[in-house]
Subunit: 223 residues, 2 copies
DNA sequence: ACCTGAACACCGTTCAAGT
DNA sequence: ACCTGAACACCGTTCAAGT
């Protein structure tokens, strides 16, 4: 009887780096960064924790691989026939939405930003900078600024969003912050008080893209 | 004899949130994020791990308080008589250098960006945006873009720098990356190959500030 | 070559007991 | 009110032993 009830599930396919990374992404998405554990991962893969180390050197590499996998998918499609500004916005939106869908990605990008997908982002942004007619000496700086903004600020925005407890309403939260800002000391925070109202109905994504536009405007501004 | 050799050090001052945070910053600076442990912290404070919980709710709050303390000091002095652009650069430099000196700060800002010093940064940047003559409807977006860039990208740059193993020479490292970039597939990475040379002798701080300038240029550009 | 899972050396946090 | 430190419930990682 014991042999009949033991592991009735179908024979599992062999372990592989790819399967491990896929399972890690699922775990990160469902139970968050704290939930990604070698024990939990092993259970999901119907094996022991040690088995994972045959395919992956450790947790840092696993997190990096998970981030690369998700980011690569996020920037997979390239839209031909777009203006440079539109193409840059498209990459930015891809990264933003990926972090929005996988909040752990933002923290990971801030920790170790140089996987192969991030290099692909640099390349794609750089080509659009060239297409904008920026002269060669300034191309690197322009591309770097956009690249850093996209990778760094998308994560920053996601962190802001994450701070809202999952239960609470986003609109309610913004309302509360707006009220708090409006009540700040007028001597110390005159500006913040003035713009507090802008927080209501404020959209992180729109604001993020407005920042991209400002950098593009700065790049193309001739003095 | 046992009583004579026990704890000959001077009587320690009472625990306080301030002392705990100060010790945490020291630990973070000397042994890094992984070295900040309640046991290590307790030893440094000549007490048990449990004592710390009387003054601080947990590790997350401790890290936040450490970040706030360091950041507050970094933006302490305000230089009067500067142009708006100079003043914005001054704030940006303060944040950049703070993260450079305390690498753990970048990761912390990416995780939870809203302590009171970050609000002070928003206020200071916002006032300069007003001083630039930006009309009211666009002030919030302009200040947000600068604020996000400063907080997000400074951390991003620091992460790049941190990836170099402490032993290796920075110039050597950049040289190696430049060489690797120059050898990328010309079909896939034409732009990155072109700018690979710019990496040699490249200064993160200068590049970071150039990004600030681009946003300022975008803000003040009139179409 | 690849997997297993017990064991090691840690963690953050709690809590009864002290002063 | 504040501190102590043992104990709890975990971690990531290693490694002898298996197939």
């Amino acid at each position: 009887m014991a042999s009949r009830t033991r592991r009735p599930e179908r024979r599992r396919e062999p372990l592989s780096r790819e399967r491990i990374v896929r399972a890690a992404v699922e775990l990160l998405d469902t139970v968050g960064e704290a939930g990604l554990t070698f024990r939990a991962l092993a259970e999901r893969l119907a094996t022991g924790p040690g088995a994972i180390y045959w395919h992956v050197t450790g947790k840092a590499e696993l997190l990096g691989a998970a981030a690369d996998a998700v980011l690569a998918e996020a920037i997979a499609e390239e839209d031909a026939g777009a203006t440079p500004r539109e193409a840059i916005r498209a990459v930015a939106v891809g990264v933003f939405d990926a972090i929005d869908a996988h909040p752990w990605l933002g923290a990971q990008l801030a920790r170790a930003p140089s996987g192969s997908p991030t290099l692909r982002i640099f390349e794609r942004v750089g080509r659009q900078v060239q297409a904008l007619g920026v002269r060669e000496a300034r191309q690197f700086t322009a591309a770097s600024a956009l690249w850093n903004y996209i990778l760094g600020v998308a994560g920053q925005n996601a962190a802001n969003t994450r701070m809202v407890e999952p239960g609470t309403n986003r609109a309610e939260y913004l309302d509360a912050v707006a009220t708090a800002w409006a009540e700040l000391d007028p001597e110390q925070y005159p500006f913040t008080r003035t713009v507090a109202g802008r927080l209501r109905g404020h959209d992180d994504r729109v604001e993020f893209l407005a920042g991209v536009d400002l950098i593009v405007a700065g790049i193309t501004a001739h003095r």
